[in-house]
Subunit: 216 residues, 2 copies
């Protein structure tokens, strides 16, 4: 199809498609004449993936370029792709070097040892977890670390469900892309679900929080 048709099918304006091609997110279509290119279904699919990472996942264009670069690199093992994705998803902030940061890092290391979780030295998620806990501690919520094992139970449940889905549903050639999709969009799914569960739990605990039951 021509770029106009690709735009119509995906709802992405032509200049935006050209921008994605320039930034390396989307491969150039096959040139059929000096200024006309032919796009296929793989372009359509990739374009939908880019929009999903952007709009639902909240990733920036540069982060998407890096994540998709990892997806497209056939030599890159799965756990390295996951590492790249994780490092682009987390909040980027300055690392502070105070007592709260040290205590939070220690708490995370203890948690990982206690759960027997296998990790990498470069695992950005461990640093992000420590940063979030340190920030809570600085505003008087150091006791939040009491919840770490309940959070870890829930995280293991979700991770098992995700991996089971990938294992059951996904062809090997789509594995890496699916894991990235699951990491980014699955996060949006879980966050929304947690907020729904909060409203329900607070309605039950404090009353007044609920309207009609079972109405979206």
């Amino acid at each position: 199809m021509r770029i106009g048709e690709l735009s119509r099918r995906t709802g992405v304006p032509v200049p935006t498609i050209k921008y994605y091609v320039r930034e390396g997110l989307l491969s150039q279509g096959e040139l059929t004449s000096p200024n006309q290119a032919h796009y296929g279904e793989e372009h359509e699919r990739r374009l939908r993936l880019i929009r999903a990472l952007l709009e639902v996942g909240g990733l920036k264009v540069a982060a998407i370029a890096e994540v998709l670069g990892a997806v497209d690199d056939p030599g890159r093992p799965l756990h390295k792709v996951l590492g790249t994705t994780a490092s682009r998803l987390g909040a980027q902030g300055e690392v502070e070097d105070d007592a709260e940061a040290a205590a939070a890092h220690a708490a995370v290391e203890e948690l990982i040892a206690r759960r027997g979780w296998r990790t990498h030295d470069s695992n950005a998620a461990a640093d992000e977890l420590a940063r979030a806990l340190a920030a809570m501690s600085r505003i008087g919520h150091g006791a939040f670390t009491e919840l770490l094992d309940e959070y870890a139970d829930a995280a293991e449940l979700v991770a098992r469900a995700d991996l089971g889905y990938v294992d059951r549903r996904v062809a090997v050639e789509d594995l890496v892309e699916s894991v990235v999709v699951g990491t980014v969009l699955g996060e949006a799914v879980f966050n929304a679900m947690r907020r729904l569960a909060h409203v329900d739990a607070s309605a039950r605990l404090y009353g007044g929080g609920g309207g009609a039951e079972g109405c979206a």
Copy 2:
């Protein structure tokens, strides 16, 4: 304390503090002379809260102003504050009106009815959940809805832990602020934890993903 001391204690530059005051995130200190203001511990605490929402929670300044405005409004019931927070946390995107969007909305409504969750008509989280599911469906992962109940189990676990913490640990006058902190920062905590659990689960399932066990 003077603004310089407040800046030194929190690591936030003086011009940034003045910007937060102008934007309504932080109240003006008590004027002790026409161009000198006195700041107290409540300012220091609020400033740390702003930085945490910004750096760990990834909220923008306008979103923080809205969320803190809800926190500071004594007449606003807890579930409305939660609703405001939820609507500023979720990805903002255009709502598409296609078959995938309709199916996703139906799946979310069924889920809410099946779990007996109490919700509000205005619950932004339900819309965000539907948007994420529709985006997955558009890139060929419609079967992801099979995982909704496993995700919901995990979300209920986390929500119960959060509410239990608030109920046990938090003085009534800090309740609303704590719920906001828990929603925003707890999300960062869970997301990081889920990524850690992914690395562990993928190491167990596919091998090669893990290094030394129990090392952060």
